[in-house]
Amino acid sequence: MKVALFVTCLADVLYPRVAQSTVAVLERVGCTVTFPADQTCCGQMHTNTGYQRDAGALIRHHVEVFERALDGGADAIVAPSGSCVGSVRHQHAMVARNLGDEALAQRADLVAQRTFELSQLLVDELNLTDVGAYFPHRVTYHPTCHSLRLLRVGDAPYALLRAVAGIELVELPSADQCCGFGGTFSVKNADTSSAMLADKITAVSDTRAEVVTAGDASCLMHIGGGLSRIRAGARTLHLAQILASTRAHPTELIDEPERATR
């Protein structure tokens, strides 16, 4: 399968290893990966904060870039983010229609139909669960809200994690509770967001996992920022980084990226 990588702005700038790992996993399972270099951001932050007109410009750009990728022979578009794929699937056409651009809405719908979150592409489209990964650590999985409730990825991430050699997968208590990130919610309602994060961190700590993983770098940035602040033992790794880990090239447990405290 020929796959165009929708890297997401956050992974591109802050978490390049998440994107590199996504490429590594896709290539290992036989996909040909391309990277449309003109891509920027899907506009989710603008949409969710109320700036639909600004989002409209970014959505138009996203649709144009990935239309070209599909025209150029890509079978699917994949992103290591439930949230950004959720925005493409559930918001792009809606915003275009709100702005009165039906033609863009229809083009956005066609791009959205071919856009997949990483675990969905692997499990639902490629029928794979064992991607040849090896990761000998105690891991717990946080099912991020948009993967869980917007995209309904269901069991796909668990199926992938259960097939990883050497992994010790432990259940996260109250896993379906939001970590409190919510984009600009985390700064506009910082107190409430922090209270939600505190409960998520307690749940993570209770599992005594070395690693908390998820399909979204944004939620992991939030959880990781909180774990780092209290010097908790657990650290965050994106699902792609666990799936990219092999016996020959194991993913190491390093803090990534480095963090600054207040």
Binding site: T40, A190, S194, T261
Partner: protein
């Protein structure tokens, strides 16, 4: 497309807006450890009960869809259904009044009570009368209103405000309730304990005298059937039925969106509502009445149909679905924000996710930075738990996003946030500028020395650092790595 039901659209007034924005109110609520414990315990208990009884119903998803469709149909036909309801209630001996806003509704009710010669009324738990601030208005007119729902009684005796649609005293635990009873309830046993059975018995003794002497009762309504003129209230305690049957005069205040076309439609809502609200298969008491029946129940019945911003909400294509709400409060119980801040932080009598959309839809927004109801659409992480729990499938997250857009449009392009969003859009809409910004972000690491930023982050970004460390960009951006390792950019 707008829908006009014959009255000039008025904005909602009454207890629909607090006096400060959500983040400020939430800040204080979050500091109350007892409140957090009470709410965490109570919402978790109701969540578990609801999940169990919903899982029993094989056709739950079809029921939700049926509920959604019936409500959408009602909103499309609201003017004619309301006229039919008025005709049927009148034909059965009732009197129908139309109230544009809380001021009109309060005046109508007070005049009706005064006409009976009574200076006190007993009340069935009702959100519509909370919304218009009826008790306070009646008190100013020299009429004492006695809440008979146990939790509303606790709130009233405690000189407090409800913090939940279904469980208004959810923020109090039983020891706090015992203390309120001891301090405020006349004739209560001084050795009252905090055992639920003892507390209920104390309330029963207190209320019984009122039920037997009151001449006027005031209720809300869970539904009204247009083709028979029937009103209905569902409840758990039976105190509502006492109010609906014992007094001579019954006055019902009902939001205009509560009408249903036929009895058949109750089949859907009487399955959806109890399971979603109290987590019961069926509520203990369902009372219905059609006009008046000589020798049976009240001899005088008045129905006050309340708009109070509903017509404005109905005119909003996206927002009108908020009028589908059946006040079950399932969205409150699953909301991670509500669970931590409680209901008072929302300011309005409608808290939680549905309140965050319904309150600004009813009152309108101003675009002001500190306008309380403008802050409500932002009081959500958009986690989507409310949409999943809603028995009539109201897409609350989409509505929140829509209201944020409306607020931003009202606020105009000159706010600091609007300027920075525009700058971000400018940077992100060009691949060249975006790549350059990614490279420049690498300089961020020079702004950090030994894990501490050299300059503190400015507001609102310092909201992040209050509980979270900041990631510092390291090495290359992905796109530069790709160029170096894969060469061809396409």
């Amino acid at each position: 497309m707008s829908t006009f039901i014959g009255m000039p659209a008025a904005r909602g007034t009454g207890d629909l807006q607090g006096d400060r924005p959500f983040p400020q109110a939430a800040h204080d609520a979050l500091a109350d450890q007892q409140l957090r414990r009470n709410l965490g315990y109570a919402t978790a208990t109701i969540r578990t009960k609801r999940a169990q009884v919903v899982a029993e119903v094989e056709d739950w998803e079809q029921l939700r869809e049926a509920g959604r469709q019936i409500k959408a149909h009602v909103m499309a036909r609201l003017p004619e259904l309301l006229e039919q309801l008025e005709e049927q209630v009148t034909a059965r001996g009732g009197t129908v009044h139309w109230a544009r806003d809380s001021t009109e509704a309060n005046r109508i009710v007070a005049d009706l009570v005064k006409a009976t010669g009574s200076d006190e009324v007993i009340k069935v738990k009702s959100m519509a009368t909370q919304e218009i601030g009826l008790n306070e208005y009646l008190a100013a007119q020299g009429i004492a209103a006695f809440e008979t729902d146990l939790a509303e009684l606790i709130v009233q005796l405690g000189h407090d405000k409800p913090s939940h649609i279904l469980v208004p005293a959810i923020h109090k635990n039983r020891t706090e309730i015992r203390d309120i009873f001891l301090a405020e309830m006349a004739g209560v046993r001084p050795d009252l304990t905090d055992e639920p059975a003892e507390l209920a018995e104390a309330a029963r003794m207190h209320l019984r005298a009122k039920f037997l002497t009151a001449k006027v009762a005031i209720s809300g309504a869970n539904f009204a059937i247009a083709d028979t003129g029937t009103l209905g209230v569902v409840e758990s305690e039976g105190n509502g039925r006492m109010c609906l049957t014992l007094p001579d005069t019954l006055i019902t205040v009902m939001g205009i969106e509560k009408v249903l076309p036929t009895w058949r439609d109750l089949e859907v809502f009487l399955q959806l509502l109890p399971r979603s609200s109290t987590g019961e298969r069926m509520n203990p008491y369902t009372s219905t009445w059609s006009g008046v029946t000589p020798g049976d129940g009240p001899s005088t019945f008045h129905l006050v149909l309340l708009d109070n911003g509903r017509t404005s909400a109905l005119a909003d294509e996206v927002g009108r679905a908020a009028l589908h709400c059946i006040r079950c409060s399932a969205c409150l119980n699953v909301c991670p924000v509500y669970e931590r801040t409680g209901g008072h932080a929302y300011g309005s009598v409608y808290p939680g996710p549905i309140g965050a959309v319904l309150s600004p839809l009813l009152t309108g927004m101003t675009g002001g930075h500190d306008a309380p109801n403008d802050s409500l659409p932002y009081a959500s992480s958009l986690c989507g738990a409310c949409f999943d729990a809603c028995p009539v499938k109201i897409d609350i997250p989409a509505m929140l996003v829509r209201l944020r857009t409306e607020h931003v449009d009202l606020a105009g392009p000159k706010t600091a946030e609007a300027r920075s969003m525009k700058a971000m859009r400018w940077m992100m809409s060009s691949p060249r500028r975006f790549a350059l910004a990614g490279r420049l972000s690498r300089l961020g690491r020079f702004a950090v020395r030994r894990g501490k930023p050299i300059v503190p982050l400015p507001p609102p970004l310092n909201g992040w650092t209050q509980s979270r460390d900041v990631p510092v960009p390291q090495g290359q951006t992905f796109r530069d790595w790709w160029l170096d390792n894969h060469g061809d950019a396409r």
